[in-house]
Point group: C2
Chain length 120, copies 2
């Protein structure tokens, strides 16, 4: 019962939020049985919120929740804002292991390879 | 004489801009002889600007400039703002071929694979 929550910033432009939800759906397909479910959540401006998404995982029986920041830079959102939204849910549900994975931009080599391919 | 310009949004947090410059340096190493140079540019809040970076490529003898948007979503910045900054430079230097590559988030499959790896 391991759930993955892909966390994006959230946008006033609903199409951008929908892109993130579609990416979560893609991850769900690709991950096979590794996760019970993969869902999207947003730091602000869109729903579900991070605490809301974690709560939903817990209610559906998650034992482990992995929060995955869909951010390119290690800014305040990644360093502070996401942990501040995750910690109260961890305190509320000590029986569930909630971890925050490295943010997307940390995978510099993989991203660089994609960028060079896009530039062709 | 082909130059690559990696375009990010730009941040008030200088460390984020520096992450982008380091990524451009990484691309330069990885690309070998494919590009004469790879540099970073910013839509706003940081230097160089997109027109400034293109101008610099032209002055250094570029025949081709590829503008590569380091953005996750197909929003206004990618759809409108970057083209609006590129077009006047193309008009000013018709002898140089300036193209805009797909934005990073368009490479959905590659990004999904990186995300699943980060979540492990």
């Amino acid at each position: 019962m391991k759930h993955l929550v892909l966390v994006a910033h959230g946008s006033r432009r609903e199409a951008s939020n929908e892109e993130v939800r579609q990416l979560a759906a893609r991850l769900r397909e690709m991950a096979g049985e590794r996760y019970t479910d993969v869902t999207a959540a947003f730091l602000e401006l869109a729903e579900p919120s991070i605490p809301g998404a974690i709560q939903c995982c817990v209610e559906r029986g998650a034992r482990e929740v992995v929060v995955l920041p869909y951010f390119l830079s290690q800014g305040r959102h990644v360093a502070t804002d996401i942990p501040e939204q995750v910690q109260p849910k961890q305190a509320e549900h000590p029986q569930v292991t909630i971890t925050i994975a490295p943010y997307l931009g940390a995978a510099e080599e993989g991203i660089a390879a994609i960028l060079l391919e896009l530039a062709r």
